[in-house]
């Protein structure tokens, strides 16, 4: 791409995010980690599992563990509605993991300079999982750091 002076404009890397709502906040999940989005289905509770794992589900013949982001961030427990969705994330080391969200909003594209990396001053639990704050049409979207969600060390 060239601008009006015929100079090459360096494209900042743009990343697509899926915007979901949990409680009354919006969060962005890097789309490259997202394998699938499915409706709520029957969840099988796993006794003695870590608290933030709600259970396991059957994803087309595969057993996939389900994590509650609300529990992970120490928010109120999930209430499943018609809008609730399970986002199946795919990670290198953990394989498939589902996370429950209240609602899936849209897909947005943000370039790196649209994400404020310094805005993680909050002291709350969830700040650990946020890599930055993106701005989208005047709304703020907290960007999840996917790898830290699955990091078991900081959280029980």
């Amino acid at each position: 791409m060239t601008d009006e002076y015929g100079l090459e404009v360096v494209e900042k890397e743009k990343i697509q995010y899926i915007v979901v709502s949990i409680g009354n906040e919006h969060y962005g999940l890097d789309i490259s980690y997202v394998d699938n989005i499915v409706r709520m289905c029957k969840i099988t509770r796993v006794p003695k599992a870590p608290f933030h794992y709600i259970g396991i589900i059957n994803l087309r013949g595969e057993v996939v563990p389900l994590m509650s982001l609300r529990r992970k961030m120490k928010l109120d427990d999930d209430e499943f509605t018609d809008l609730s969705r399970i986002i199946i994330l795919k990670t290198e080391e953990m394989g498939l993991i589902g996370v429950v969200v209240d609602e899936v909003k849209e897909v947005i594209t943000l370039s790196e300079d649209e994400i404020d990396k310094n805005a993680r001053s909050q002291s709350s639990e969830k700040a650990n999982f946020i890599s930055g704050i993106g701005k989208n049409d005047g709304e703020l979207v907290s960007i999840f750091e996917i790898s830290s969600i699955f990091d078991e060390t900081d959280n029980s």
């Binding site: 029957k42 099988t44 509770r45 796993v46 006794p47 003695k48 599992a49 870590p50 794992y53 396991i56 589900i57 059957n58 013949g61 595969e62 057993v63 996939v64 563990p65 994590m67 080391e93 953990m94 394989g95 498939l96 993991i97 699955f150 078991e152």
Partner: protein
Amino acid sequence: MDVSQYLDIFIDETNGHIQELSDNIMILEKEPENKDCVNEIFRAAHSLKGMAGTMGFKKMQHLTHDMENVFSEVRNDNIKVNSTLIDILFQCLDAIEGYLETVKATSGEGDEANEHLIKMLNEFLNGGGGEAAEPSEEKTEETAEETQDNAGDEDLEFKKLKLEDPDIDSLRQAEASGNKLYGMTIHIQKDCMLKAARAFLVYKAVEDFGEIIIYNPSSQDIEDEKFDLTFNIIISTQSDIKPIIEAVSAVSEIEKVDCEEVTSNYYAEMNAAPEDKKEAAGTAAPAPTEEKKAAPAPAASAAKGSAKNAPANKPVTTRTVRVDIEKLDALMNQVSELIIAKNSLVSISDQDTRSDENQQTFHEQIEYLERITTTLHESVMKVRMVPIENTVAKFPRMIRDLSRKLNKPMELYMTGEDTELDRTVVDQIGDPLQHLLRNSADHGIEDAETRKAAGKPETGSITLNAFQEGNNVIIEVKDDGAGLDIEKIKAKAVERGLVSEEQAENLSKKEVIDFLFNPGFSMAKKVTDISGRGVGLDVVKSNIESLGGDVEVKSVFGQGTTFVVRLPLTLAIIQALMVEVRDEKYAIALGSIQNIENIPVSEIKYVQAEEVIHLRGMVIPLIRLDKLLDSTPKEEESENLTVVVVKKGDSYAGVVVDNLIGQQEIVIKSLGKCIDNNKIINGATILGDGEVALIIDVNAIF
């Protein structure tokens, strides 16, 4: 010719032949006159040679060729089998295995020529009949001694160099031009990091005085650091020897320099002289030094080779299963039947399904289909099943070696080698079993005198029993050695701060024995290279647990120890009883279920505040599955309890469930890494209606 496509077959078959050789040589050691056995060995060695030749592995071919020569002589009664020969043969086998490993990793055979082995074989061969066998035996004993202690350093290594004719010619030429010849053996310090660089400095220092005629090892090998801590040179010089020694010693990290004047005639004579003469000449036979030099070299080069190759290229082999053609035929038949069943279902679905008659045939077809899928599953599992034979076959050899090394007479008895297990399990069970056997050999079996004093036969026996029990395969490693000293283990546990003294007093025998599986817990008084470092039983346990099995220890002090390894027969599909706890469904493997009982609440008794039931003369602890699984508490207890009696080894437990659903074939799925910290649940399965049910690991409730 591109032979890479045959590599898999080559590796597979070579493994087979090596095993065959090893087995037969073991037999030969016991019955040196067994002609059948010699013939078998000859055949195997011959096939090995042929295959190595076809694949273009020249060095391997060379070695096997010489082995074959020896066997051929043995077969013709020209050579008697003795323990020296057996030892050499086993070394050769190890070398071939070494080649095979290199082939597996790199698809080339590597650089190790194993010349010392070839030489040993040839010496044995040239030694001729029974007479020569005697002296050569002495010689190898010497070899052993010399390799063990480093006193061998005293010998002047350069004197034992075997020189080729051209080399001797150049020595003669140097002599003719009026130069003196000096042989030198340079010893480098053990912790030297840059051996090649030191050697190079030595060469430079020497070259100030004269010319180096002979390098041993070759200068190329020196450059590649393919030598141990010593190397030899022969120099021709006008100068006196003293300044040369000083100059060489001045090079840092040089430990010692041996130097003496030599003549070309000396080496020429050496070459011409037959083996025994050389011994008479006062210098030790070449074999010891050759071996000493060469022995660490393969290890080093192998290590180097693997380090180089490991990150870069993956092993060239794929994991294969050899399948009996009969099993495949059965599989094929069942698949054809499956297709027929499918076709009949299709034809039924074309017709009006509401008529009663069609309903009837429909159900029949479904039953038929069910039967086929079950047998199909069994056949596929059978294909995956391999006898543990391949894994355990190497153990007799290992125990034989250990027996010699530890100087304790012992025998390994194996039963049930034909017990079949899933391929993945068989592959991974080798190391843990090997460890348990080493453990038995090193710590379990006492030395001959102690055994005699205790009234036991002098030869210790280690038994490896494998058999099937329900859905499990049990492998027992049993020794008739000293047994575990519970008090000693307790003391050690207290000493290591694992428990306080008072706690230790109250521990049951089983709890005490469990300390053995703690990381770093070793009862060995001294650390040997066989065991005793305390790295081991914990690894054994975790290895076996990762396969879904467990280890148990039984021991009677003074009479021996038994390690019982319990492994699941298959990893993928099991028959299970589906039960209900509240509204959740769980599966219990049918293999561990003994029976199912209806017990009135009033029959529950209490022992030490634990619920038990009395059943046909047995007192069985009662386990409330709902409590174990943190289910929602029940509002009111019913008068009758449904109890599933499960067993693990000799112990039983009654598992209380709410409801029985029925028997079902289930496919085991892993829970994934994030929630597998749960011992009671060992997997999940997907039911017909798409719901996920958890599988209870009965072994974990005990």
